[in-house]
Symmetry: D2
Subunit: 314 residues, 4 copies
Amino acid sequence: MVDVDAQVLNALADQAGVEKRFGTLEEALEWSAFEAVVVTTPTFTHASLAIMAAKAGKHILLEKPMALNLDECDAILETVSSHGVLLQLGFMRRFDPEFMAANERIQAGEIGQPMMIKSLTHGPGLPPAWARDLKTSNGNLAEVNSHDWDSLRWLMGSNCERVYVEIANFKGKAAGVTTENFYDNALVTVRFESGALGSISSICPCNYGYDARVEIVGEKGIMLIGDLRNQAIVVCTDRNQGLVTPVHSTWAKRFEKGYIGEMQHFIECIQTGAQPRVGGEDGRWAVAGVLAATRSFLEVRPVYLNEIMKQDIT
Amino acid sequence: MVDVDAQVLNALADQAGVEKRFGTLEEALEWSAFEAVVVTTPTFTHASLAIMAAKAGKHILLEKPMALNLDECDAILETVSSHGVLLQLGFMRRFDPEFMAANERIQAGEIGQPMMIKSLTHGPGLPPAWARDLKTSNGNLAEVNSHDWDSLRWLMGSNCERVYVEIANFKGKAAGVTTENFYDNALVTVRFESGALGSISSICPCNYGYDARVEIVGEKGIMLIGDLRNQAIVVCTDRNQGLVTPVHSTWAKRFEKGYIGEMQHFIECIQTGAQPRVGGEDGRWAVAGVLAATRSFLEVRPVYLNEIMKQDIT
Amino acid sequence: MVDVDAQVLNALADQAGVEKRFGTLEEALEWSAFEAVVVTTPTFTHASLAIMAAKAGKHILLEKPMALNLDECDAILETVSSHGVLLQLGFMRRFDPEFMAANERIQAGEIGQPMMIKSLTHGPGLPPAWARDLKTSNGNLAEVNSHDWDSLRWLMGSNCERVYVEIANFKGKAAGVTTENFYDNALVTVRFESGALGSISSICPCNYGYDARVEIVGEKGIMLIGDLRNQAIVVCTDRNQGLVTPVHSTWAKRFEKGYIGEMQHFIECIQTGAQPRVGGEDGRWAVAGVLAATRSFLEVRPVYLNEIMKQDIT
Amino acid sequence: MVDVDAQVLNALADQAGVEKRFGTLEEALEWSAFEAVVVTTPTFTHASLAIMAAKAGKHILLEKPMALNLDECDAILETVSSHGVLLQLGFMRRFDPEFMAANERIQAGEIGQPMMIKSLTHGPGLPPAWARDLKTSNGNLAEVNSHDWDSLRWLMGSNCERVYVEIANFKGKAAGVTTENFYDNALVTVRFESGALGSISSICPCNYGYDARVEIVGEKGIMLIGDLRNQAIVVCTDRNQGLVTPVHSTWAKRFEKGYIGEMQHFIECIQTGAQPRVGGEDGRWAVAGVLAATRSFLEVRPVYLNEIMKQDIT
């Protein structure tokens, strides 16, 4: 286990029963008696750490978002490719039983050709300073909503063509946030290459719980994925108040099975040499969406993914 | 409009815009310029009022329960029959859109041959003194749960053969109720002539709301009728509390459409001369069930409806 | 009753028990023995009929959308004002018990300052030719989604400042629709004057049912209004298929109470002389939203309501 | 791993990666290099296997029902006690997150003093011959509903005082079952020592799914535990059919977390020497309930647990 903070490192390693402990990835790579690296650090460190790991021949499970920009994404992709290691992105919703079952049913044609998708991720808790700053994180649309960007592409089976975004800042001032362009609400409209439409709703911090739901309408029908409800317990003790049901309060609990599933998949891929079913290209598209979205609200206009892809690549 | 309490009479008649007002049914029958009577008085007055109305040639919409015992039921049935008037019982659930749709689907065979039914009616508010006393009302199983007795027969398409009942008294003491055999909880087990099983759950007063739900399992499937939820509004403002949804709080609101529907049906029957689709025989079976149930908990044994039917009739 | 089609006129008037029947509003106004007019004709006739009725001193309940453009709206408003008649707009959701309760709770501050609202109306059935053509109707965003435009302003307590819209046409070709700019899917993003964000989702025809739901997130919490579910009946007969629950299939049934409520309100306003609580200004804002939205998708850019308001008024 | 069927043994042991394989418990006990035994054989073998394991000093996780009668239960309890081994009963619902959370909230007084509980377990699939025969299994009330008996005592915090049971046999004949007293439907009424009431609903086979739900009403409110719904996915493709949601189809999936939880708890108890939080006394009460219930439907009368306890013990 690696952490720059020795106290955090020791607490977590004790809890997990891990003996080998390092302050930097470099030190760990010197020891080298392991096959893979799981990178869960802030976004602005992803590219350097992933490239370092790839050069050392380690397989990589990289947390979302993949990187800060497309140049970084491309650098990771090239190093991973030239060193023959596996790269899996931490889009755990792809391993959530409900999202997996929903995707299979959509691909099987149950609701027909998808016409419109709406995905929302709303979460409690003010993000840390680096995650509020466009320069170190690209903001909530990257940190909170990377999963929505990936789900849109995955479930619709089509890439984004252009995006338009409106943002709002309701709670920043009261929370003392003075970061330029900080937003706690964002509403993204997406036009897909297939002609279909989509939206991503981002709210953070919102104190009512952790909320991740998707609605898709196809030519034949509608599908709703996910629920506000956490446990199947309903209590009523006051008829003026009404029925009360527990709500999802954290992403870790909501997607517990997804987190376990993505780790199992990563291990299986290492054992069998199979390519992870969610990789660097998926991470790159999510980053491209965020960059187009950011430009959209800065310039108050729809932005084509093409504009971003070209500029960043060159 | 008729009411023994002039103040209540005037308030209600003003509200409804009714000019003719009487202190007793006798006075109203002397005036006589009307076709039908709606009897909504306490149970112990049903037989005398219904018989008086029938003798005067008035059609009758009679609130549940029909009467206190089978002798009274039979006297009503005979007078109604000999005077050629219509008798409709106030089982408004038979006119509730959900109960009607459910019944149609059951009769159409959607869940197969019914094997088991569970019906519950739980309501807020301590019943008035006359409704708590077995002698003037037969207690909650009659006053609150007449509807369940009727729904069981209606939805299962079979008569009760025998019943077993357990009762409990949790809140009576604190509420100062000293009536003999008072109960605020009752659990009825029914064996139908068809061999199917059923239960009725009675709780009153229960302060969480007005709760009326039915579950039926047939050889092919299950059907749930009714919901605790009142309005399709979900609010969450605190992730430690969870989702909050309005609950049904009164029977008048819960079965608003049923009450309107039963009145429309009664008027149509008078206009066309058709027999109401819920009549005296239905009311009589509900009374018989309650009497068997009462004997069951008094004697702590299963009681056959046959025992009650024979004894009361002779 | 007035209808240009004698056959339709007679069928409906027979059903409603209306004796007086006319082929045109002019004829009815010559007879004149009535106080008010309910205009439910296609949008392109609203202005001329409403103005004719107002000049004849009749109060007006005008179906949505108010008119085709802001000039027409203003002409109606001026005539209504100068002739001292009442004008109520047919936004029946304002009279739906769930929407009313939700609005009261929002205004009371239950979810705090509203930050984001999402309203959807999806309906079955290909609209008639005039309702598919921007020139005679402004398309689905006007005909199907007028209610959403009104709900957004009402529930958020703020006017739209600018809108951005993406549209799609998935089913037109197969249905033989060749109308220019026809769309069956539209996704609207709204920025409110308050700084809050909103979206309207429009799909028609969609064959899964009639779907009208709203989600609002405020600084303190979330509120969901409406439900796909029609009746509280759940059936399961096959564990491979799962639970089945009835869905709303038509707007007339879904908003039955709203339609009755708006008519009662209109009559009360005529009787008391009170201004209807949803009037011409509300109708005008909904039209302005649609016009800005249409320009947005035609010009692929966000459009300020201000642009529309200015241009149309002069 | 032990199984009398070598083919089954090898298949399961391969799957689980277990090397040591035995045809009988005796053989396994000769090898002896293990600490604990998990007994998942048919009920009529429980007493002999558990006693054998206890005498060999092995801790025991014993599947429900504990045994066929109270003599067997007492023999197990005595041997376990005299040999100082741990005995845990396989009531996995005590380790299900929803049941655990519900129980904590009830014990904390959230719904007040419990007045009435209803627990149902309905499952698909005709039970094997030994589980249909009262002599080898005590029938469905033991095999399917042991969990309900335990949940009643656990959640209500009170022992059963007397029970009354009605049974029905709807599907036996068509399935060729000729076993005496076979039933596929049973409805149990319980009176608790506390004065509270309860019911257990048993249906097996029922093909609509695996259904395990509980409702409890206390003096202050109601609590519903569990749901028919399996996944938070709603699909609608036909407005005449309605909304479709996956249902629980097997107990193994429904209580997956409970099964894992009970095993973790058993291991922790072995490691720490703590008594399992659901033990032999709990198993014995569930057996006593079943025996009283069986006598109730055979003799068509309410039966006191006391009658069973005395008779079996002496």
